[in-house]
Amino acid sequence: MRIEQQPAYVLHARAYRETSLLLECLTREHGRLGVVARGVRGERSRLRRAQLEPFQPLVLDLLLRGELATLTAVEVVDTPARLSGDAGLAGLYLNELVVRLTGRQDPHPLLFDAYARTLARLAAGESLAWSLRRFERDLLEAIGYGLQLQHDADTGEAIEPAACYRYVAEQGAMRCAAGSPRALRGSDLLALEQDEMPDSVGLKELRDMMREVIRFHLGGGELRAWRVLAMAVSRRP
């Protein structure tokens, strides 16, 4: 199948066969694709290789056969998001999250849009933690594991801002006593639902909650980028 003029980002590249690269790409209409870029390693192809770095908005022409696609043309369509400093570490986290939580050839156009939006936020220097929480929320929604942030999963009642909850993956938020492990405030769940940035306590609680949910969907594993991000986070409120 020919895929033409497909908006995409490269998430990861590794050496493949003698002179090629195997790219993991997030495309808008075809989801994550394994893409072989032939003859792009070595001295002379430095320029083409640079175009295949992550975080650049690309338009790709591809030939999809079976499991892998072959790259036939690539164009950088816009100025790449300059993710410098901590934003660069956050970018590596985004890419690991997308690769680990999505399957190849599962189309998720909403995920693509959320990814592009998050890169723009990170490049603009918006709050790192909040940008990541919003992305995680949108990613889960896009791949069919959306969070339940409006109602108590036990009683069906609306989440109360002042009450304490514990969020269980695939079930939802349940009332718990204040101070119990991994408890978070109703107001923080609602902040995530309403897309309004909570205070720093809320951001930390949401981070812990998201890690638990993500761990569940990974089947219990860890993301390596969490350890990379620890460096960025330890210096921030």
Partner: protein, 200 residues
């Protein structure tokens, strides 16, 4: 590739572990060694055996070494106040050959790349942090590659350096020597433009 000799087939298969060597090249290499270079083939096998068994990593800089300390780290003529961090032994060799650098090195054997399974531990960054905390080093020259992962690693290393009270510096990058602006790709040009310096 049926040759009638199982040993020959094994040799060809074994040679394919070399980078850039596919079935055809491996076969050519095997025939070449058998037809013309028996002596040197034996030498190669002996050295290969020794090297694979005895070469490990230097305790101090992580570069390949068969001694606990490599010759660069053991040398008394290298400046101990400057430490240069590179991704690979190849990068170290390139800097040694192209510059008059007289300081010491730390070799990451990779760069931060969560999807390749490379995090701070795999790159020996705890070891580096400890070295930075010893108080001898004044400048950390960060010579990771100007790729997304290399830049993220550079940022991480700069934080480590600051935490250890060491001044981090980064290799300058931009338009290649002899290059013309119109042929330089956009990201390189943007990088060079952003990193412009005052002329005095």
């Amino acid at each position: 590739m049926s040759s009638g000799s199982p040993l020959l087939a094994d040799l060809i298969e074994a040679l394919r572990c070399l980078p850039g060597v596919g079935g055809k090249s491996a076969q050519r290499m095997a025939f070449h060694l058998l037809e013309r270079e028996r002596e040197r083939g034996l030498k190669l096998a002996a050295v290969m055996e020794q090297a694979m068994r005895r070469i490990g990593h230097c305790e101090r800089c992580r570069n390949f070494s068969e001694e606990p300390l490599c010759s660069l780290c053991a040398s008394s003529s290298r400046d101990r106040q400057v430490l240069c961090v590179v991704e690979s032994p190849t990068d170290l060799a390139a800097i040694e050959q192209a510059t008059g650098y007289r300081g010491q090195y730390f070799v990451l054997m990779g760069r931060l790349s969560p999807l390749d399974g490379l995090g701070p531990e795999e790159l020996g960054l705890a070891q580096l942090a400890q070295r930075l905390g010893e108080g001898e080093i004044e400048e950390l020259i960060i010579a990771t590659n100007p790729t997304v992962e290399g830049e993220a690693t550079a940022h991480y290393l700069a934080q480590l350096a600051r935490a250890g009270g060491v001044r981090p510096t980064r290799l300058a990058h931009g338009v290649p020597l002899g290059g013309e602006l119109e042929y330089v790709d956009r990201s390189t040009l943007a990088h060079a433009f952003g990193g412009r310096q005052l002329l005095d």
